[in-house]
Structure formats: C-alpha cells, structure tokens
C-alpha cells in the first residue's frame, strides 16, 4: 500500500460547516422561505392504476376565488422527457409529459391547482371534473410480460424504450466466457432466486420546491434536489424555456437517498411561476411522498454459482435480474445494469460470468434512484448463494470470500462490459483492504466463538451471518464535477462547488480537501454549493461520486490556486515558487521565512501586478474505484413469534482515506440502519387495484431509535492513488450488507433460507414451520 501522507485537516472529524445553522433551527430549508403572494400548488392524483383521461373540465375550479390557474394536459407543454436526474443524453426513456392524457398509476398526475392557500387549492381540486376510461392494470412483473398484456406506454412520441409494445423498458445481456460450460465443469452448483419489495426512502423532508421570478424575470427554483444542474436542463426542456432563464438553488435539504435525484415537482412550480409571475410553493404530503414520489425497484434476481470443490474458487457466476420499473422508466436501465456491474466484479476469479435481465413497466408507483441502486437487490441472492455454497463445500463462509474476492492489481471483464447503462470502463483495483476488513469484522462479532452454536435465550435462538459487498466511486468517463476557488484578502477562500450536500457533509469534506492543499484550517474555507448561477457544474449527488469526483476537482482547483499563491509570494521571500510550502495560513520558504496568506492576497488584490487569485478545475474520472465492506451480524430469532432482532452489526469498511472519519461513519451507520429496515420491516403494500395501502409512517415502519442494534463501523483505511488524498466514496455501500448478512444469520440460527424481503415475523415463522414439517 502506498504510504499514506500525514494530513493536517483531512482525516479529522471536523464539525460540519453547516452544523450550527442546522442545530439552531435556522430557516435554511426550501419551505422556510416566505415571499408575499406565494401560490400554493396542490396536485390531483389519479384514482386509477391505468386509464385514459377522456374529458377534463377545470372551468369550475378556475372560477373559484383565490385560484390563479389550473394545469392539465390541455394547457401545458407536451414535451416528453425523463424525470431522471442523469447526465445528458439521459439513459432513461423520454416517456413522461408534465401532464398526460393517460394515467399510469394510482397517484399519477391528473391536474394541478395554484391558489392563494392550501385550503383553496384543495377545494378547487375537488371541483375539477374528470372522465376516465379505465384500462386493465398491470400489477406485477409477470403480468407485464404476459402475452397480450396491456401496453403501459402506447404513446407514439416516447423514445428510448427498448420495446414499448412488450412493456420492456430496458434489456441487458452481457457475458464473459461460457457460463454453461463453466457450470458443467463445476463440482458444486448452487442456485437461488430472491425477491425484493417496494420500499421508500422516507426522507424526513418530503419533496418540496419554491419557485419565483427574480428582478430580471428569470425563473428561480429553490428546490430540495440532489441534481441542480440536471433540474435546470430538464425544466428548460420540459417547459420550453432557455437554460439562461433558469437558476436552480439547492439550500439545505432534509435527506434524499436517491429520491431527490429526480425532477419531480420543479416543472409544475416553474410553469406556474412562469405563467402567473407569482412565487409558488409545492410540498408533497407524506402520503404523496409514498404514492407519487419515487421508490426502490422491486426485483426478482436469480443467481447461480459454480465452484471447484478442492479450491473453493468460483468457476462461473450467472445473475438474472427482472426489475419492476413502475409506470415510468426513469433509472430503469441504469439500476438494472448496476445490479450486475457493482456485484459480479467482486468475484472476478470466475472465468465465466453472465448478467442479463430486463426492466419492465407496470402500472404501479414509480421506482427511481435509491442508495445502492440495484447492487442492493443483487447482493441478496449473491451473498446468500455464497453462504449456501460455503456450506456445500464445507468451507467457512469468511474463508470462501477470502479465496474468491478481487484484489489489488486485478480487474474484471465485467467492469468493461457493464457500466451504468451500456458498456463500462476497464479498471484495475488499486486499493482493497477486504482481507483486513474480514479479519477485523470476524473478530469483533465473535465469528469463531459464536457461529453455529445456536445459543438459546428463552424462545430466541442466536445466529451469525456475514457478507462482503462493493460499490463504486462515481461513473467513469461520464460524471463530471468542477470547483472554483477564489481568495480573499484576509487569507480566507471561497470554495464554489456544484456538488450537492444532502446532509451527507460533502460541503465539509470538500472544504477539508481545499484546506489541506492550501495549508489553512477548515474555517478559512467558505463553502457555497449547488447554485447554478454561481457554482460550476457538477452532476450532483449520486453514484457515490462526490468524494471521489468532486473531491478531485476541488483538489485540482486548490493546487492551481496554490501555484498562484506561490507565484506571488516567491519574489517577496526571494526563493523559487516550487520551494514554498503552504501551512499555518502562510507561504513558508525553506529558510523558515514566511508571508501570511493575507499578505499574499492583499498584494495581489491591491499592490502590484494585481489579479484575482482564483482557479476553476474539473474532474472526469477514468475509473470508479470500489469501496469494500465486510459485514457481520448477530441476530436473535424468536422461534415462537418469528421476530428477528439484530443484536450486533459490524461493518469493516475500506473507503480509502476517510476525509472526515465521523462523517464517513455517519454514512455507514445511516445506510446500515436503512438496510436493516429494508431487510426486516419496510414494505409498501399494494392492493389488488394498484393502490398503496400503507402510505404513512404509521404503517410503513422504518427503524426508530428503539430498533437499532449495537452498530460498530470500523474504518479500515487503504490509500487509493487515483482518489483525492487517497479517498474513495462511501455514500451508498453501507445499505448493501444488511439483507444478505441478516438472511445468513437467520440461517445460522434456525436453518431456514429466506428469499423474500422483508423478513417479517410472519414470514420467518411460516418458514420455520415449513422447514420443521418438511
């Protein structure tokens, strides 16, 4: 491993730069703005899963006092686009209109009212008359693929759909070698098919946007988004407004997790403001957040593994994934592809590998981006099949991983064949501490002591399980992030970044990277992010790109500024610019003589050869170095009630150098708890008519503080030479471990392999009973 440099600011758990405002309740969120004359916008959602709008009459609603306008498909731009916040050209179909003459899920947009108050807007919604021609719904993957299934997207002007007539949004099929031959040649073959459920991100702040015209009649969208630049572009496209007339600002936002990597409300708000000249506020209710925002892709994933008995090494891996992408195809292709691209390379020893699958339309709530982005669904069958394989081979599961996981210096043909949509990018692993992660994790959980013991306490049986997972750090050759740094005459710097802090702390860690290069403490860096007028481009917060991609841009910009500082200071200190080091807020010569940064900037701003010390730099990554996690869990299964309690969860994580250890741990801890909810209690229940039956936190149960086990996150640092300061990303990977780890632990405890999430007490009890009567 390359020598890890000693850092002054990087590697410290600095307090978040936005922390004070958050902990004192300052009005820094979207809805905390109050402008006079603001219109409240309410959206009429479809009561049907699939229907044509035959007639829509908004005249009564429009005439109501206090109503400024009513939007329907008859008076809004018909431009088909994708709501997916991805780089252009987006790898998602253009299958969405602002308002369509067809509705495709219960809660789909029918109309919107902008009025003086929420109450007036709601009353006006009730006055809109709609005649529907109900169509047969499509309520599952199997129904979607059946012969003669109703066609969800039969419009003539949609583009980018693989086969609309068959409800297939995307189709992926890549292979390496010959898996059939590989399985033939394997001594042991294991196969499993797993199904994952509809789940929702439930950010505590629902989707919200505040739009208004500025004094130059430009449209300003103050929005809770992960992708401000994509919002600007897609709104321009959907509304037919030039990009130069739109400014998107992301203030503080209350969580995203992928739900806000989407243009969900900004088009409506923008249109209302553009038409009326008045500010507009739209905030989804919690119920709408469940029915009409975005969800996880439910998937059916089959994994087949073939291995050599003597060595325990995999010869062949096959993964087949069918993804339910709901009523619209946003993220349909890319989540599907990611299911294979972020899982299979982990086991690169297999000479034969195949990933294939489809994403299909249904007339159900719309999945989108969600932390893990398909990898989470893929690890369920992969890591439980590995567990089953270990048993068949008589090898310890940890040892089986050791013999098979990818290592430094190695690559995988999957990297090249499968990216986030089409082809990927070849890469060789340059940092990987999985060995140590496995060792440390196993020791902390008490793997050797406790596994297989089925310790009983009352009606509960204990069990241990483990898994290893990887993710990526950004999308190579596609993602781009940029940073601008300018200097002030007190030696402070403004850091302007497009990168989007969803609460993850990216403002802070990017500030730390700049501070490290410039030799100043963090408080000398003033971070402004995510304002399309002032901050340079960044794709936004997704694909675990911020630390690795945006971080590199910041590092480069800081290095350029450092050069300029050296250029100003060198003649004053009488030495070579290259000999100057920046530390303790000064430029320091080898002699020890120093010039404060404040002095340097004053000189450059006012005194001689004046210029603004500033630089902008960009980063397009050429690879996506994966972080790695070894997960271990101890569970207790109540054999009388089926209830599964996670007692202890250990995650040993290699994310390169942790720029801010507390924030890196925080990402892992939050993702793990979210993953535990996804594994045990979270499930959107869908009625036989396609309606979400439990659209509330009362009946969609996410983990509360009473539900979290003892969680230990251990940062096992590596040094990633291609990453800023040696860092890789860590935003998503934590959510991939809990499902397979808990499934494997349940097997250790009660000998039952569950293949359907969530592992509710009822499902577990039923499985235990079925196994004991078999």
């Amino acid at each position: 491993m390359p020598e890890r440099p000693r850092f002054a600011v990087v590697g410290k758990s600095e307090r978040k730069v936005d922390g004070y405002a958050l902990v004192t309740g300052k009005p820094v969120f979207v809805a905390d703005l109050r402008l006079p004359g603001t219109l409240r916008v309410e959206i009429l959602g479809s009561p049907h899963a699939h229907a044509r709008i035959v007639r829509i009459d908004a005249s009564e609603a429009e005439a109501m006092p206090g109503v400024a306008c009513v939007l329907t498909h008859e008076n809004t731009p018909p431009t088909r686009h994708t709501t997916a916040g991805q780089g252009a050209p987006e790898p998602s179909p253009y299958d969405t209109r602002m308002f369509d003459d067809k509705v495709r899920f219960v809660g789909d947009r029918v109309a919107a009212v902008a009025a003086d108050s929420e109450a007036v807007a709601r009353a006006a919604l009730k006055a809109i008359q709609v005649d529907y021609e109900e169509l047969a719904p499509v309520l599952s993957i199997d129904e979607a693929l059946r012969d003669g299934a109703p066609v969800v997207h039969d419009e003539s002007d949609a583009t980018g759909i693989y086969d609309a007539a068959l409800n297939i949004v995307a189709d992926v099929d890549i292979d390496v070698g010959d898996t059939a031959a590989g399985f033939e040649a394997s001594d042991v073959v294991v196969e499993t098919t797993c199904e994952t459920q509809y789940a929702q991100h439930t950010p505590i702040e629902t989707h919200v946007v505040y739009s208004y015209l500025d004094n130059d009649r430009r449209l300003v969208l103050r929005t809770s988004t992960q992708v401000p630049f994509h919002v600007r572009r897609i709104v321009a496209q959907a509304l037919g407004i030039p990009i130069r007339d739109i400014r998107v600002i992301k203030p503080r936002i209350g969580g995203g997790f992928g739900a806000k990597q989407e243009v969900l409300l900004e088009d409506i708000a923008g249109w209302v403001t553009w038409r009326t000249g008045r500010p507009a506020l739209i905030q989804l209710s919690r119920k709408e957040e469940f029915t009409s925002a975005r969800t996880r892709h439910p998937m059916r994933v089959r994994v087949k593994l073939g291995a050599d008995r003597e060595t325990g090494v995999l010869r062949a891996i096959e993964m087949e994934a069918i993804s339910n992408t709901g009523a619209y195809g946003a993220h349909g292709l890319t989540v599907l592809a990611n299911t294979g691209s972020k899982t299979l390379p982990l086991y690169n020893k297999a000479a034969h590998a195949r990933f294939y699958g489809q994403a299909v339309y249904t007339t159900l709530a719309v999945p989108g981006a969600y932390r893990g982005y398909g990898a989470t669904q893929g690890y369920f069958p992969l890591e439980t099949a590995m567990d089953a394989l270990a048993e068949r081979l008589g090898i310890d599961p940890v040892e089986l991983r050791r013999r098979n996981h990818i290592r430094v210096g190695e690559g995988s043909p999957i990297f090249e064949k499968l990216g986030e949509g089409r082809e990927g990018v070849e890469q060789t692993i340059k940092s990987c501490e999985l060995e140590r992660c496995l060792e440390i994790g196993a020791e902390r959980i008490g793997w050797v002591e406790k596994r297989g013991k089925r310790h009983r306490d009352g009606s509960r049986v204990h069990g241990l399980g483990m898994s290893i997972v990887m993710q990526g750090s950004g999308i190579p050759l596609i993602d781009m992030g940029a940073a601008t740094i300018k200097m002030n005459e007190d030696g402070s710097f403004n850091l302007l970044i497009g990168a989007t802090d969803l609460g993850t702390g990216s403002d802070t860690i990017l500030g730390q990277i700049a501070a490290e290069v410039l030799g100043v403490p963090l408080d000398a860096i003033l971070v402004t992010s995510s304002d399309t007028d002032f901050t340079p481009f960044d794709v936004g917060a997704y694909a675990s790109s911020t630390t690795y991609v945006s971080g590199t841009a910041v590092q480069r910009a800081a290095e350029e500024v450092r050069e300029q500082i050296r250029g100003v200071a060198a003649p004053v200190l009488g030495c070579d610019p290259g000999a100057l080091s920046l530390r303790d807020r000064s430029a320091v010569a080898p002699s020890g003589e120093r010039l404060s940064l404040a002095e340097v900037c004053r000189r450059a701003m006012y005194e001689s050869d004046q210029f603004q010390i500033a630089a902008t730099a960009s980063c397009v990554p050429s690879e996506s170095p994966p972080p790695f996690v070894a997960n271990f869990a101890e569970v207790a299964v109540d054999t009388e009630t089926g209830r599964v309690d996670v007692l202890h969860y250990v995650a040993a994580v290699d994310c390169g150098v942790a720029i801010n250890p507390a924030l890196a741990e925080g990402q892992m801890e939050g993702a793990i708890v979210n993953g535990i909810g996804y594994a045990l209690t979270e499930e959107m229940l869908i009625s036989s008519r396609g309606r979400v039956r439990n659209p509330s936190l009362f009946d969609y149960k996410i983990p509360g503080i009473l539900d979290v086990p003892k969680i230990e996150v251990i940062l096992v640092e590596s040094y990633e030479p291609t990453g800023p300061m040696g860092a890789k990303s860590v935003g998503e990977i934590g959510i991939n471990g809990p499902i397979p780890t808990i499934a494997n632990a349940i097997y250790d405890a009660v000998g039952v392999r569950l293949t359907e999430t969530p592992f509710t007490p009822e499902r577990v009890l039923r499985a235990i009973r079925a196994a004991s009567s078999a």
């Binding site: 758990s13 307090r15 978040k16 936005d18 922390g19 004070y20 405002a21 958050l22 902990v23 004192t24 309740g25 300052k26 009005p27 969120f29 809805a31 905390d32 109050r34 991100h201 439930t202 950010p203 505590i204 702040e205 629902t206 503080r252 936002i253 209350g254 969580g255 997790f257 905030q283 209710s285 919690r286 969803l502 609460g503 993850t504 702390g505 507390a662 924030l663 741990e665 925080g666 801890e669 939050g670 993702a671 793990i672 708890v673 979210n674 509330s696 936190l697 009362f698 996410i702 983990p703 509360g704 503080i705 009473l706 979290v708 969680i711 996150v713």
Partner: protein, 158 residues
C-alpha cells in the same frame, strides 16, 4: 379566536383559526426550526416544548397553547451560546441533513430535564418518537449522553 402565549420567552397575543395546529402557528410566526415531516405525529420533526414537555406540535391545537409557554429549538441558544444538547450534537457528528435535529434536540432537552443521568436504554426511550433516516441514531445516543454529563457538571451553556 385570540390566544396569548409565550414563545421562547416572548409574550405574544395572536389571532388563530380554531382548528389550527401549534405547528402551523409557530411556522407562520417565523419559527422555521419547527419542521414539517408528516403532520400525523409519526416522525417527531415538529417537536417543541410546551410548559417544559416535548410534544408533537402537529398534534396539538394552537388553542391549547393559550396561557402556556412554548419553547422551540430557536429558543435554546442563549446570548450566542449553544445549549449543551445542541453543542453535543455538533461535536459528536450527530447532525447530517439536520431536518430531524430540532425535534431530537427538543426531546433530549425534555428527557435530561427529568432524568439527568439516563442509561442508554432510557435515552432511546426518550427519543423513541423521533425518526431519523440519515444517521442510524448511533451518534445521537452518544450526543445525548455527552450532553447529560455536561449538564451534570453544571455547565449549562458553552
């Protein structure tokens, strides 16, 4: 109807609608630290102190606050000094997006005012009505413990 109440130490006489929630009243009076998460009492983001007790302000009629004292997260800072709970949340890295934070802090302040030396289990029980999606609660539990120690040491504002 009219009510008179104290908000963060300031006496106010306000016109309210009979069915208005305390949450909506506080936000329209500019206390944006009181957050909207669900409006059904399931998430705790709207928590405030009512006569010293933490409550979901979305579940309390504004009319009920007549003659009573309300403290929001904005009222915890004194003369530019953070309340130990606020400080501990910052120091322990217990704040990510910060949307649940005001409600968490309020619940923690209530808990510690009644139980100055809570066990971890008691901290969990005290915050059981506050949902967070970012942090996994790990650092929040530590923060409350740390704040408890500071408060026991007599250092009310730091």
């Amino acid at each position: 109807m009219t009510i008179t109440l104290t908000i963060n130490g300031e006496r106010k006489t306000l016109e309210i609608a009979p069915d208005e929630s305390l949450l909506d009243l506080l936000r329209r009076e500019g206390h944006m630290g009181v957050k909207v998460g669900c409006r059904t009492g399931d998430c705790g983001a709207c928590a405030v102190l009512l006569d010293g007790r933490a409550v979901n302000s979305c579940l309390v009629f504004a009319a009920k606050a007549d003659g009573r004292e309300v403290v929001t997260v904005e009222g915890l800072e004194r003369d530019g000094l953070l309340h130990p709970v606020q400080r501990a949340f910052l120091d322990e890295g217990a704040v990510q997006c910060g949307y649940c934070t005001p409600g968490m802090v309020i619940s923690a302040v209530d808990l510690l005012s009644r139980n100055p030396d809570p066990t971890e289990e008691e901290i969990r029980q005290g915050l059981s009505g506050n949902l967070c999606r970012c942090t996994g609660y790990v650092k929040q539990i530590r923060a409350v413990s740390r704040a408890a120690a500071v408060l026991r040491g007599g250092d009310v504002h730091a």
